[in-house]
Amino acid sequence: MSLLEVDGLKKYYRTGGGLFSTGREKVHAVDGISFTLEREETLGLVGESGCGKSTLARLVARLEEPDGGRVIFEGKDITELSGKKLQELRCEIQVIFQDTYSSLNPRLTVSSIVGEPLANFNMGTRKEQKERVRELLETVGLNPEHAARYPHEFSGGQRQRIGIARALALRPKLVVCDEPVSSLDVSIQAQILNLLKKLKQEFGLSYLFISHDLAAVSYISDRVAVMYLGRIVEVLKSRDLATEACHPYTQALLAAVPVSDPRLREGKELIVKGEPPDPVNPPAGCRFHPRCPRAIEKCRSVEPVLNEVEEWHQVACHLSC
C-alpha cells in the first residue's frame, strides 16, 4: 500500500473579475491529477508558475477542499475528513512553506512557534515539551540557546530551519514542502536541501517536494512528476530524468535549465517558444500542443492520458517515446 494516493484530484478557482473577465471564468488550477507516493519516498513536483503546484500541495495537506477526486492516506480516504479527524491528520501530514515571513508568527518566540503543535495536541508535560523543542532545534541545526528569540532576528535560511523544526514536532509521516528553498541564496539552499535529506533518513519521512527548479528537485527526489497547466505530463525516476525523459515538455524544461559550464552554451538551441497559455481557457487536446515542436494532428483534439511506458515511468503524450 502506498503512503499517499491521489486520484483524479480537481480544484477550480473563480477568477476575480478583472478588466476583461466576465466574472464567471474558472481557473483550472488542478485538473484531474493522479499519482502515488510510497513510504520513505521523495516525490518531486516540478512545473512553471501557475501550473497548479501549490494548489496541489494544499489539497494534499487538506488545507483546501478539492472540487473532485480523492486523497487517500495510508489506505484511508481523507478527502472528506473534518473536525477532530482532520485535526488528527495534522499529526501525520505537515507542510513547509516558501515564505517564512508569513508562515511564522512574528509575535511568537521560536520556542512557542516550534512548541505550538505540541501544546495544541497536549503532547507531554510543559517540561517535556520544552525539552522536545530544544531537541528539535538542535536537529535542524539551530542553537537551542536562541529559543527565546523572535523570527525577525534570524536570516532566511535560519527561519526555514525554524519552519522545518515546527513541521517535525509531531513526528509526521509525510511532509509537503512547497518551494522551501526558492527564496534562499544558493549556498543556503544547498544547506537546507542537505538538511531535508538527512532528516528524511533519520526519521523515515516521505516528502512531496514542490519546486520550479528542476535541478533542485532531481537532487532531492526519488521520482519527479512534471506538471503543465493543471496536469501531470510525466513521472519518472530522478536518476533517469536527464536521459530517459520523453515528454516534449519535460525535454523543453531540461533544455531550458541554464548550462553548468560556459563551454556547453555554444550551439545551444531553443526547444520551445512562447509562454504557457492562460489556465482559464486551457487549449483543447494536449494542453502543450500550441508550444510543442513535435505535435501531430491528434494532439489538437484528443487529450492524452498518463500511460505507463515502463515500470515507474508514466507519460501523457500521443507520440511513443
Binding site: 512553471e48 508558475s49 536570516s155 535560511g157 535560519q158 541564496d185 544558493v186 549556498s187 543556503i188 539552499q189 544547498a190 544547506q191 536541501l193 542537505n194 520550479h212 528542476l214 535541478a215 533542485a216 532531481s218 537532487y219 536518476r239 530524468l241 536527464a242 536521459t243 523543453a252 524544461l253 531540461l254 533544455a255 531550458a256 535549465v257 541554464p258 548550462v259 553548468s260 559550464d261 560556459p262 563551454r263 556547453l264 552554451r265 545551444k268 531553443l270 520551445v272 517558444k273 512562447g274 509562454e275 504557457p276
Partner: protein
Amino acid sequence: MVDLSQTGGADTISSKTILNVRNLCTYFYTRQGVVKAVNGVSFDVKPGRTLAIVGESGSGKTVTALSLLGLIDPPGKIVSGEIYLDGRNLLGLSREELRRLRGKDMALVFQDPMTSLNPVFTIGTQITETLTCHMGIAGAEAKIKAIEMLKRVGLPHPEKIIKRYPFQLSGGQRQRVMIALALSMNPRVLIADEPTTALDVTVQAQILYEMRQLIKDCRAGVILITHDLGVVAELADEVAVMYAGSIVEYGDVYEIFDNPLHPYTRALLKSIPRLGTKDEVLRPVQGQPPSLIDLPGRCAFLPRCEHGAGGCRAGVPPLEEIIPGHAVACHRVIAAKPEEVTLRELA
C-alpha cells in the same frame, strides 16, 4: 582584465574599454552604523562583451549598479572611487548631466519591469516617447521603429503589443519590452540587474538566447548582475565574484569555471545541484555572510572558509592577478604563487 595598479586618468585607460571602475566605495550611513555595501570595487567593461557580477544576496551587486548610474540617495553615499565612461569621470558630473546620461549612454534593465514601466501609458506610447526624447524620432517613424524593436526582442505580434498597457502583458513580455527600450537608445553600457530572475525557466531560456544575439549586434558593453552561476555560464565573457561588498575573484568566464581559485567561488560552484550527475552530494559553504557594518580588518570570508589559517587575519587580502587575466583576493592563494596554484595543494 583590470590593471589594478591603474588608479585613474583618462589617458592611462585602455581604448578597448568603455567603462572603467576603480576602487568604488559606496556606504550607507544608517542608525545601526555604516553599511559598507560596496567596498573598493574595480572592473572594466568592453564593447560587445558581458561582465557578470555574481554573488549572493546583500553582497553589493545592486548598489554597485546604482552607483554607476548615480542613483545612490541618502543615507547612501559614494565615498570614493572613480567611474570612467569613455574616459570621462562620471563622479565629477552634476545630477542633471548624470540624468541625461542615464537612459541614453547607460541603460538599465531591472528584475521587476513593472516598477520601471509607467502603468497608465500603453507600451507604444512609452517607447515612442523615449525615442522622441532621446533620439528626436517622432510620429509615424517612431511607431515603425517601436514595432521593429519589439520584433527584435522576440515579441510576437508587436503591432498588438504597442496598444497594450504593462499590466496586460506577462512578466516575460514586460521584460522583453524593457530590454527593447533599453537597447533602443543604442547605449554604450547596458546594466541588467537580475533580468530573468523572476521568470519561468522556459521564458528565461528564450530571453537569455535573445540577449546573447542582441548584445553581439549592438556592441554595447553589458554588466549582467545575477546570483545564478547558470546564467553566468550562459551569457558572460568576464566574471566578477562579489562577497561582502568586494570582488574576491575576477577573470575570463572559462577560466573562472575551469580553474576557480577563491575558496568562496569554489564553494559556490559546489552548492548548485546539477542535472544528470547521479548521486552527487552538495557541499555548501556553512554559516552565513557577515554583517556589512563593522567589517573586520581581515578576510571577510574567514569564518566560513575551509582553507582559513592564521595568516588570513593579516589584513583584507587585495585582489591580485595570480595568473594573467585571473585575479584573486585570498591570502593563501596569493602566498602560494608563483607556482601553479590550486587549492587542492593548499589544503
